[in-house]
């Protein structure tokens, strides 16, 4: 397809869901009613097909020779942007010199190594992959900050786009069956369309500012959808929690954006990420800059991707309808953090310590969430913790670039690959769980039902496929991607510099993989095996998923079965992704040793689960009594919610309370005191009931005198 035709296509991808959102919001409640899914379906289908076309034709776009006019203009801007950026950077050294001198020799040697690496890098050609940038309109022009409304598609975003639109389409289909005759049916589809629009824009944004805007928008849609059943207080509380916790991460992201802007003089991806030479120069002038930027970026990613200690919101987010959990809180939105870190790889390369932090945080999160998932009895919560854990896996991989420049690309590839496969099998698992919930009359506690194998055959086999893919059963999707992660961790552990660190992470990763296989199949066995038991809410005959729910399950199951095999070992995915700007294509390898390890891990985990929950179903209770403190720790989610409550919420509440108290006691006291003076002189204003007005005036007077005195002393 010629390039000119790709531009309208590019716009069509976000615009179709937006149009659907508007149409559904306006016409839904009155006109469309229970046909509200139609605009959403058609819009998502259009977006999905467009994404596929884009995915297919992108590699043939030759961004070097056949750049569109706008892209050329962008290059000129880059050249100009470098000028002030250089100036800004030269202004920094005084402060940074002091910092590095204090941190001693090891810092110096690291610096020398980094500088050497930079030299090698700046000699190399700028790595520009195929990309399309579509210019929308001049959006912002504030001082030196220029942000056009631009869409950009390169390899990484093309992959994300097709994944997002594809999964959304299937989830929307499932949702129309699941939400059948819910009073908020139109509202659901309007919000889902809005979400898909925001998510598409997030991955297509060509600047950090635009990315931030849609970063907030997906958060908003997530807020609306978590609180979808707002009549449940828990849902309303969960939606608020999700939003507020995310805001903490957003604070980091906006700091990162401003650091980027002040140092690069631009916030466009093309300018910031596409010029290794600029990054290298900035880094050599101010060595603490890139770590600061990357740390702030990672803080943003931690919030959105629910990494320790900001993971608390994701399990609670399961209060939303299950299709929403599948779409937003498993497959798409929560992976935005991974996308951001992967996208900013060129910056992270210069911040090995932050990369180590990324890996470390990922490892802690993965292990912690897996341990919590072991004892949960709510099927959706098991899946939620498993999502947190898998996101931890992805971050673990992303940080491996710290071990050496040659590992950067494999690390990003592994992380993104896991993101890709995870989207399919986790969406599948959630939808299957939704189907169980649907059949069980909204009961999701695994202790209250079992042996659903016969009653829900389609749900059963699709869930089994998803669980096997998650557990890492050979040849299924999760197997290939988890393999890549373990392989890159092993490679990192073999390096001299951070070998020990990555060695420890590797052990954690392997154990977590074992736990993953165990808890996934624990959930499977508890739900589908054993004696047949239904809760009374389900009625006598639990009904299997209707066709509109069953087909998305089937399609996702086939994807979970085959997609890893199709794009993993064939090097299709890696080869495609590695053409993203900032990555260097590397050869694909088969890691037979790693595969053996994964097979061992998966079979052990599944076997253990089988032994404990099928062969000897009385044992788990005994274990629970023997290891009571540990069991309580896991079931209580390591009391992280409570810890956060004590460490963050209480102090904040205390501050608010103290301010009120201060206002009431000290300031009002002061006011009363001041008020007494004129009051003794005159009783005229006694008629006033509320705050004494003379006192307010007194405080104003004191304020003015204080201001004058302060200004005079400063003069």
């Amino acid at each position: 397809m010629s390039e000119e035709l790709l531009y309208p296509l590019l716009w069509l991808i976000p615009v179709a869901p937006l149009a659907s959102a508007i149409v559904t919001a306006l016409l839904g409640p009155k006109v469309l009613k229970y046909r509200s899914h139609l605009p959403c379906w058609s819009a998502l289908a259009v977006s999905f097909l467009s994404s596929l076309v884009l995915l297919y034709s992108l590699p043939s776009v030759d961004s070097q020779a056949n750049k569109p006019e706008i892209w050329r203009a962008g290059e000129d801007a880059t050249a100009q942007a470098e000028q002030p950026a250089g100036e800004a950077a030269t202004a920094q050294p005084e402060s940074t010199d002091g910092g590095s001198a204090a941190s001693g020799e090891s810092e110096e040697s690291r610096l020398a190594a980094a500088v050497a690496a930079l030299k090698a890098k700046s000699d190399a050609e700028p790595k520009v992959g195929p990309e399309i940038v579509a210019f929308g309109f001049e959006w912002l022009h504030v001082g030196k900050l220029e942000v056009p409304f631009e869409l950009r598609v390169d390899s990484i975003s093309a992959i994300m786009l097709s994944m997002v639109t594809g999964v959304s389409l299937l989830v929307a289909m499932f949702g129309s069956g699941y939400m059948h005759h819910d009073a908020g049916y139109p509202r659901f589809f309007a919000a889902v369309s809005m979400f898909v629009f925001s998510m598409c824009m997030l991955v297509m944004a060509n600047s950090f500012v635009l990315l931030f805007v849609f970063w907030e928008m997906v958060g908003l849609c997530s807020y609306l959808l978590i609180g979808f059943w707002f009549h449940k207080p828990s849902a309303a509380a969960a939606s608020k929690k999700a939003f507020v916790v995310n805001r903490i991460g957003d604070f980091g992201l906006i700091m990162a954006i401003f650091l980027i802007w002040t140092s690069f003089g631009s916030v466009s991806f093309s300018d910031v990420l596409g010029n290794p030479a600029t990054i290298a120069r900035l880094h050599s002038v101010a060595p603490s800059l890139m770590p600061a930027i990357c740390f702030c970026l990672f803080l943003g990613a931690m919030g959105k991707s629910a990494q320790f200690p900001l993971q608390v919101w994701l399990p609670d987010a399961m209060e939303g309808p299950t299709p929403v959990s599948a779409l937003i809180h498993a497959a798409t939105m929560v992976t935005a953090g991974i996308y951001l870190v992967a996208r900013c790889t060129p910056l992270f390369e210069y911040a090995p310590l932050v990369q180590l932090t990324v890996t470390g945080t990922g490892a802690i999160t993965a292990a912690l969430a897996a341990l919590i998932a072991l004892t949960q009895t709510d099927l959706k919560r098991v899946l939620a913790y498993s999502t947190v854990s898998q996101l931890g896996f992805m971050f673990m991989a992303l940080g491996c670039g710290a071990a050496g420049a040659e590992l950067v690309t494999p690390a990003v590839t592994a992380g993104m690959f896991h993101l890709f496969t995870h989207a399919f099998f986790k969406a599948l698992l959630f939808l299957a769980a939704g189907s169980v919930m649907h059949a069980m009359g909204d009961v999701i506690d695994m202790r209250r039902f079992s042996g659903l194998k016969r009653a829900l055959p389609i749900t059963h086999w699709t869930f089994l496929v998803g669980a096997a893919a998650l557990a890492g059963v050979p040849l299924l999707a999760g197997f290939w991607s988890k393999d890549e992660i373990l392989a890159v961790l092993i490679a990192a552990a073999k390096t001299s510099q951070y070998g020990l660190f990555f060695g420890i992470v590797l052990v954690i990763a392997s154990l977590t993989a074992l736990l993953t296989a165990f808890y996934t199949f624990r959930a499977y066995f508890m739900t589908f095996c054993g004696p047949e038991k239904f809760p009374e809410e389900a009625g006598h005959h639990p009904h299997e998923a209707t066709p509109i729910m069953a087909w998305p399950l089937r399609i996702l199951a086939v994807s979970a079965l085959l997609i890893g095999l199709a794009v993993g070992p064939t090097h299709l995915f890696a080869g495609y992704l590695q053409r993203t700007t900032g990555l260097t294509p590397v050869e694909g390898h088969f890691h037979l040793d790693v595969m053996a390890l994964s097979v061992f891990i998966a079979t052990t985990g599944i076997g253990l689960a089988w032994m404990l929950y099928v062969a000897m179903p009385t044992v788990p209770a005994k274990i629970a009594t023997v290891l009571k403190p540990f069991y309580a720790l896991s079931q209580g989610k390591f009391f992280l919610d409570e810890i956060l409550l004590v460490l963050v919420v209480f102090p904040l509440r205390a501050i608010a309370w103290l301010s009120t108290l201060f206002d009431r006691l000290v300031i009002d006291g002061l006011i009363d005191g001041v008020a007494r003076v004129p009051r003794t002189l005159s009783d005229r204003l006694k008629g006033l009931q509320g705050g004494p007005v003379t006192a307010y005036a007194g405080v104003m007077w004191i304020g003015m005198v204080a201001a004058v005195v302060l200004a005079m002393t400063l003069l």
Binding site: E138, V142, V213, F230, A235, D250, L688, L715
Partner: protein
């Protein structure tokens, strides 16, 4: 007759204001004859006055568009680009406020209410236009005095009366500060004309004269801080916002802030001997003081808002914190000034923030007044429970405006905060970075209580069945505001260019 000619020439510069004042005169004169001695008026009289007010405002807007800029004027009025921008902003805000007042006011007092509003608008414009300290002070009083009447007219229960008297006394007190400061300036320079003042200020002796001048400026700042609701001059705000009618709160949340900043930006540069606003930034001591006030104001405002149950008090604290955000722009000002012409300017960010805040804040109050009834106005957060079910459109628009106030995309509020942040951040000093960080942190804190408003509207069951009382003009004002909030986000450039031009920055 040169005097007559001068007068004629000066009058030619203030046609929009003359239109407003003429309408005010007509209304005050005619109104008593249309109301019986017992205070009864024929039903629907307010509609006639409303139409007249809107017409007058539209004429003023038309005259404003046609009026020539005369930057070189050295007479009593100087209609430069700054004044042009402020006038447009007030007149448009005036239209929106008229729409809210239309629903709120009663037939018998409609004429006086509308007339007071018009007088206030004219007063704001006079402060912006004035080329003389006396003119500025008169303009300030032209804002204050009708405000007292308007507040008193709004609702006649004891709460409203108490709030009005509080506002009245404290406002007079703050005006005294301003007047005292202005008299010092006059004493030191021997002139009240701003153009002359600028020249004299350049030749002021370092040492005593400088110290006296800056002391005078601090007094003026303190007096005007009352209007900006800056801590510790904010005390009246929660009480007054809670006490008066929503239409008055809408006015109080916006116009005093505008006139406060306008007066500051008229007096401060002149007293420091700077002719061009674009080249001015506060002296270091003032900047430190203003930054301090800004930090305290936004933090204190937000923290206090967290605990409020009464939605009007909550909005009062929110308004206080917004005053703090705006002070960031004033503190940063144009520290790059003339050296880098296209640098992000704090003043331009402030000029951008003002109208964006105005539409969001007016929108919130308009919709609150639309959601309540005369018998049962919206007071506590509980009154908003389940508004999305009883008034879905109102709830949606209110959410948009509240989102704007919290500074989240996709609203103009996001860009307004972003601009302030960019300006503060790019100044690159410790103080300005602290300001920027505090601003961002406060935006995070503020999300919690703004979200609560949206939360109760959408995530709570409606408790009371509200009998719908048609408040079409308030809804119209709210609709305009919420649409504008989103439109500014999508197409911000024209407003930004206008704001930058207002402070004398020419955009490329």
């Amino acid at each position: 007759m040169p005097a007559f000619q001068d007068l004629n020439q000066a009058a030619g510069l203030i046609i929009p204001e003359i239109i407003l004042i003429a309408t005010v005169c007509i209304m005050f004169l005619a109104a008593p004859f249309l109301v019986s001695e017992t205070g009864k008026a024929s039903a629907g009289l307010r509609h006639r006055w409303g139409v007249l007010t809107s017409l007058s405002l539209l004429c003023a807007l038309w005259a404003w568009l046609k009026a020539p800029l005369d930057v070189a004027a050295i007479g009593p009025f100087q209609p430069d680009e700054f004044a042009w921008y402020i006038r447009g902003m007030t007149l448009i805000a005036g239209l929106l406020l008229t729409l809210i007042l239309w629903d709120q006011t009663e037939d018998s007092i409609a004429a006086e209410s509308f007339a007071c509003l018009l007088a206030i608008l004219a007063g704001v414009n006079f402060v912006a236009l004035s080329n003389d300290l006396v003119g500025i002070f008169l303009g300030l009083e032209m804002v204050s005095i009708p405000t007292y009447i308007l507040l008193y007219l709004g609702r006649q229960d004891w709460m409203s009366r108490e709030a009005t008297i509080k506002y009245f006394l404290l406002s007079i007190f703050s005006s005294a500060f301003v007047l005292f400061g202005l008299s010092w300036v006059f004493g030191l320079t021997g002139t009240t004309n701003l153009s002359l003042l600028t020249q004299r200020a350049v030749s002021a002796q370092p040492g005593f004269e400088h110290a006296m001048l800056s002391a005078a400026l601090i007094m003026i700042l303190a007096g005007l801080s009352f209007r900006l609701t800056a801590v510790p001059f904010h005390y009246y705000a929660p009480d007054v916002f809670q006490g008066v009618a929503p239409s008055s709160s809408a006015m109080l949340s916006f116009l005093p802030k505008v006139v406060g900043f306008v007066a500051l930006l008229q007096v401060f540069p002149a007293c420091m001997g700077v002719t061009k606003l674009a080249a001015w930034s506060p002296a270091d001591s003032t900047r430190f003081l203003v930054s301090l006030i800004a930090i305290i104001t936004m933090t204190f405002g937000n923290v206090m808002a967290l605990r409020q149950k009464n939605v009007l008090r909550l909005l009062a604290w929110s308004s206080i914190s917004h005053g703090g955000y705006m002070l960031v722009g004033f503190a940063v000002a144009s520290s790059f000034g003339a050296t880098i012409p296209d640098a992000a300017s704090g003043l331009a960010a402030l000029m951008f923030y003002l109208p964006v805040y105005g539409i969001m804040s007016i929108g919130v109050f308009a919709l609150l007044s639309a959601a309540g009834t005369r018998q049962k106005p919206i007071r506590s957060l509980e009154d908003l429970h389940g508004l999305s079910q009883t008034h879905p459109a109102t709830a949606l628009m209110l959410s948009v405006c509240v989102f704007g106030l919290s500074g989240l995309p996709p609203t103009g509020g996001f860009l307004a905060k972003l601009n302030l942040f960019v300006a503060a951040w790019s100044e690159n000093t410790e103080m300005s970075r602290t300001l920027a960080m505090t601003l961002a942190l406060n935006a995070v804190i503020a999300a919690a209580y703004y979200l609560r408003i949206i939360g109760v509207m959408y995530f709570e069951k409606s408790r009371t069945v509200v009998d719908a009382e048609p408040r079409s003009t308030s809804v119209l004002a709210g609709a305009i505001c919420s649409i504008a909030t989103v439109m500014v986000f999508l197409k911000p450039q024209w407003l930004w260019d206008a704001a930058a031009a207002a402070v004398g920055l020419m955009m490329s």
